[in-house]
Amino acid sequence: MSGLTKRFGDTTAVDGIDMVVRAGERVGLLGPNGAGKTTTLLMLLGVVAPDKGWIEVTGHRLPKGRSAAMADVGFAAGYLPLPERLKVDEYLRFYGQLYGVEDPDIDAALDRFGVAHLAPARGTDLSSGQRTLVGIVKAILHGPKLLVLDEPTASLDPDVALRVRTGLQALCRDEGTTLLVTSHNMVEVERMCDRVVFIASGRIVADGTPAAVAGAFGGADLESVFLRLAGRDITEHPYERGQETERPSL
């Protein structure tokens, strides 16, 4: 994507983003709420039209090549529910077929994330963690070259989050799938991604390996970078500076 810009009224959500994600990379797109991460992803997916700039996905320029580009992309978001009136296997078969896979291997795909037992369950009977896992299975069913995940582990307990992370790492390793993921869980991103791109106020403010980005901002880890960009510099807090002896009450 190049020169990507999007305004909603007086608000500039995305302000001239240039970014190339190479095949096989695992990229974390990070930033505070309202930074422009989801808008960037939605433009990449062809759901929101940019005001300026252009996007090319697997050699297909959007919006003209949207259909061909999206055939190579899988998408899941932690905030999206499953349609109420479908069972999990029906839901997965439906989406697999939209991507051209006549008879998707649903059991194997569910098994990758340890949820094969959910196949006959209704979407409404699943916990939020289970729905997230099924959503990710939906996204990988057609063997995408690029997997785009928006907050995939939001509101998941550590056990399910670990299962998601492990499954995604195995997928990227085994299939060479490129990963572009947004998350507010910095530890998770550090473990899962080999490159992080920080966005603040619609602009890229840092781009590199997790260690390099943390180092560039003078922090020990991504969380300190995040807090700094979010306007809550952790090192500025008296407790963190060592001037307070007791942890402040929350």
């Binding site: 349609p83 939209l98 085994d174 299939e175």
Partner: protein, 275 residues
């Protein structure tokens, strides 16, 4: 496991997607019994209502009364072609909005036309269910045999079918632009078109001020052709031609409008209403 899967392409792929969308809406009907109201209860209620009115005005099979009964029952039969085709497509799309499934669909490689074709395909099943209820009820309770209208009924119904789809696409365009607040139109718009189209009476029966508007609707001319069938005047090709031409012109305008609304949907980021 390897997620790399053999994929179809070209027409086979389009057909697979259309079937998948149709099957998805079959599951919706299967698991949401209240949706059966549109294809069972309402047709039944309409036939009972208008059949009973017909029986009331037609106690002795006097000529005028007999005509009125036939107009009411053949009118309600043809009206259900418009109603069922419109409701099936409009509520099919609304189902995706209600279940917050729009984003998931919009990020797939499926083309808009494939989605519409899938909903329409299953909508045809619902249409036949609704018409079957109307036909059987009319025959059982009021001795009105649909087949008496003859084979000319098919082209008249075909034009009304297309009219229903055009109205549904207009409703979908409004929902894309104004959100689910516009969903009331899915049903409401039909109650505007019903009296103006002269479903049960000739346009001359309308107040004079509304007649030009009624004449401009393609549905009006299809219903004129339908009444002629009941009158035994055969198929009025001229009226049917006007209806078809009007439908095609209106369809072109509505598709242009829908394309613009979809563009606005993407430009203004309205997907956020459904996430």
């Amino acid at each position: 496991m390897s997620t790399a899967a053999a994929r179809l392409s070209g027409r086979q792929l389009s057909w697979l997607r259309i079937k998948a969308v149709a099957r998805r809406h079959y599951y919706v009907l299967l698991r949401a019994p209240h949706r059966l109201f549109d294809v069972t209860i309402w047709p039944l209620v309409d036939v009972l209502l208008f059949g009973s009115i017909a029986a009331f005005v037609n106690p002795g099979h006097a000529t005028a009364g007999h005509l009125a009964a036939g107009y009411l029952l053949s009118g309600i039969l043809l009206w259900h072609v418009v109603y069922q085709s419109q409701i099936a497509l409009a509520t099919g799309f609304l189902e995706e909005a209600w279940t917050r499934n729009l984003l998931n669909l919009m990020v797939t490689p499926m083309r808009e036309v494939e989605y519409v074709a899938g909903v329409v395909m299953f909508g045809m099943v619902k249409l036949f269910m609704g018409l079957a209820v109307v036909s059987v009820t009319a025959l059982a309770f009021f001795a009105f045999n649909v087949t008496d209208l003859g084979i000319g009924l098919i082209p008249v119904a075909a034009v009304l079918l297309v009219c229903g789809w055009v109205i549904a696409l207009f409703v979908i365009a409004l929902v894309l632009r104004f959100g689910t607040g516009a969903e009331a139109l899915a049903w409401g718009i039909l109650f505007v078109i019903l009296p103006l189209s002269g479903v049960f009476y000739p346009v001359a029966a309308l107040p004079w001020i509304l007649r030009p508007l009624a004449q401009a609707l393609p549905t009006t001319h299809a219903f004129i052709a339908g009444r002629a069938l009941f009158d035994g005047r055969g198929l009025l090709w001229s009226e049917l031609g006007i209806a078809l031409l009007g439908c095609v012109l209106l369809g072109a305008v509505v598709i242009l409008f829908l394309t613009r609304m979809l563009q606005a949907f993407r430009t203004r980021g309205y997907i956020s209403r459904y996430t």
